[in-house]
């Protein structure tokens, strides 16, 4: 919309314009579209039935199941705590508030490998809580709980980062109005707060989910790579690749790529909703 109003003189000359566009398109093709084509090309190179065979193979299925399980735990958890944290940070002013807002970004700031190591240090056999965990026969590292924890940690910022600016901008006057009209805290949350943030929230959840399914580094550290037990889809793809089982590796990778494409489609839809709301 806006570009239409930009004065003619502000446009670069045609040649430069075309050049910039061409460079951008080549770059996009090379770094984004080509890999996608390669993944699907390699996955289906030996035909659909071989592809299908690699997918329904036991270890691959178990990896898919684990990936979905991890996302099914980590995403709702981060949805809930993301809302709680954003609400507290956006609607109240207290000492240390801006420090906490910065702290929320920590999982993005550190390398995923380090994130994984934090949990090994905490819960590994030689970690702080290791002896106690061993005594009580609880296994976290090299088991599903560790993978879930690491994923939660790495994906925590997505929802909160989306909501904090949104809620800060909206302020709390509508909530106060609801209270003066006799609503209790619960009604105010469900009828006023939540509807006002729903699209931003959905956007954050989509990104959170994409990362939860695709996380490699942190999960790799805590997983232990036990076949059929603690391998998620990204880990499974890597193992197959390292064993020169390229077709199977790309078949698994194509599943991840497929999830990514669905995520992109959803993200596109939600974004256009948000834009529409903003221009209203």
């Amino acid at each position: 919309m806006q570009s239409r109003h930009i004065e003619k003189g502000l446009y670069p000359p045609f040649i430069i314009n075309a050049l910039i566009t061409a460079i951008t398109l080549v770059f996009l093709a090379l770094f984004l579209i080509l890999p996608l084509v390669v993944i699907f090309g390699e996955a289906f190179r030996e035909g659909i039935s071989i592809w299908w065979g690699s997918i329904v193979e036991q270890e691959a299925l178990s990896a898919l199941r684990l990936t979905l399980l991890v996302a099914a735990i980590a995403v709702p958890f981060n949805l809930f705590f993301g809302i709680v944290a954003s609400w507290a940070l956006a609607k109240f002013d207290f000492w240390g508030r801006s420090f906490i807002i910065t702290l929320i970004d920590l999982p993005f700031a550190v390398s995923p490998i380090v994130s994984g190591l934090i949990f090994v240090l905490l819960f590994g056999i030689h970690g702080w809580m290791g002896p106690w965990l061993v005594k009580n026969n609880i296994q976290i590292i090299f088991a599903v709980p560790g993978i879930v924890l690491a994923t939660m940690f790495v994906t925590f910022p997505f929802v909160a980062r989306e909501l904090i600016p949104l809620m800060t901008e909206q302020g709390s006057e509508e909530e106060q109005a609801a209270l003066t009209l006799g609503a209790n805290g619960w009604q105010t949350f469900w009828k006023i707060t939540l509807p006002n943030i729903k699209w931003g929230l959905l956007y954050g959840v989509i990104l959170c989910n994409a990362r939860a399914m695709g996380e490699f580094g942190a999960v790799s550290v805590v997983s232990g790579h036990i076949r059929g037990e603690t391998n998620t889809l990204p880990l499974q793809a890597e193992i197959l690749y390292n064993e020169y089982n390229f077709t199977a590796a790309f078949a698994v990778a194509s599943l991840l790529a497929f999830l990514a494409l669905i995520t992109l489609a959803l993200k596109f839809f939600v974004e256009s909703r948000i834009n529409k709301l903003e221009t209203l």
Partner: protein, 347 residues
């Protein structure tokens, strides 16, 4: 319902926004809280509503008809609050905004769907918005939003209506219209109402009583006539309209000498622009000012004349067009000003 406040103070990070307020708002009256920006009007209104707690809760009281409500949460106080920026629910239609207060009631107190529908439309008719029930707040003009906010607040049958700068962000014409409309509405409904404004004209025109505030304190409480004609403090006088300030002395014999020399002055002498008489010659009176016409503005309800005195002080005089026609004043003319009405305050 009458409202009494006793010993209400409020401090924000060491800053005293309200300083020991004691007040009574009379039953069924429309009271204006008038004061400059930052004088604590909104804070006082929010404390009455329960959106803010006063300091030292133990000492202070907020009485609704003699019942202390200081421990009652907002949602149980049954106050209609109209926010300065409306605070309409942006995702709900006009109808749902107004119905909100009726729909969040406990099941046994809640009306049926059709009764709610009926009541909402009755309110929408009162605020003249029954044709816009399906619109979203973003599809309304400022004045219409304001009226939705009012209808929404009235829906809960409030015992008291609190309005924070209800016309603050509207343009002049809509403002004047809504102002009269609000007065009429109040005359029909007789709900005890408090409205905040920084516009003295608005307060004078609409309210039964005016409370003038400054720096978190009350300067004067009175009818519009009282605060306008008998301002209790220099601040009130200054705030309620243009004034000319002169410095003078009251000597031992209680005679007043105006000399405009600040050093020896022990009083301030305040005269409103419309309280001067223009004399063409000095008939040897005390306390009249020889001045020269410096600027004359005739476009307006009143003729506005700026005079300058010997020491180049500006003196503002308002005159009716008729009186102006009679004296035939021209720029540069030298005349004499005699205050007809004045107020003086210790320096």
């Amino acid at each position: 319902m009458s409202i009494s406040l006793e010993n209400i103070s409020k401090t924000f990070n060491g800053f005293k926004a309200l300083d020991d307020i004691n007040l009574t708002f009379e039953d069924g009256k429309l009271t204006a809280l008038l004061g400059p920006s930052g004088s604590g009007k909104t804070t006082l209104l929010r404390i009455v509503a329960g959106l803010e707690l006063p300091d030292e809760k133990d000492n202070s009281k907020i009485l609704f008809n003699n019942e202390d409500v200081i421990d009652k949460p907002v949602r149980k106080r049954q106050v209609g609050f109209v926010f300065q920026h409306y605070a309409l629910f942006r995702h709900l239609s006009v109808f749902d905004n107004v119905a909100f207060g009726l729909e969040v009631k406990k099941r046994k107190e809640r009306l049926s769907k059709s009764e709610i529908h009926e009541q909402v439309f009755e309110l929408l008719r009162i605020v003249q918005l029954d044709t816009m029930a399906d619109r979203l707040p973003s599809q309304l003009s400022g004045g219409q939003r304001q009226r939705v906010a009012l209808a929404r607040a009235l829906a809960i049958k409030p015992k008291v209506l609190l309005l924070d700068e209800p016309f603050g962000s509207l343009d002049a014409k809509v403002r004047a219209e809504l102002r009269r409309w609000l007065r009429k509405l109040h005359d029909d409904l007789h709900i005890t109402s408090i409205f905040v404004t920084h516009d003295q004209e608005e307060a004078l025109e609409v309210s039964d009583r005016i409370i003038v505030m400054n720096h978190g304190r009350i300067e004067q409480v009175g009818t519009p006539d009282e605060v306008f004609h008998k301002p209790a403090t220099e601040f009130v006088m200054q705030f309620l309209g243009d004034v000319n300030v002169f410095h003078g002395r009251v000597d031992k014999n209680q005679t007043l000498l105006l000399n405009n020399a600040k050093e020896e002055a022990n009083i301030k002498f305040l005269v409103r622009p419309h309280d001067f008489e223009i004399l063409l010659e000095n008939n040897n009176e005390e306390n009249i000012f020889p001045v020269k016409a410096h600027r004359i503005l005739t476009a307006g309800v009143m003729v506005k004349i700026e005079f300058v005195d010997k020491s180049n002080h500006l003196i503002l005089v308002h005159l009716s067009h008729d009186s102006y026609g009679e004296i035939q004043l021209n720029l540069g003319d030298e005349v004499f000003l005699r205050p007809k009405q004045h107020h003086f305050y210790d320096n």
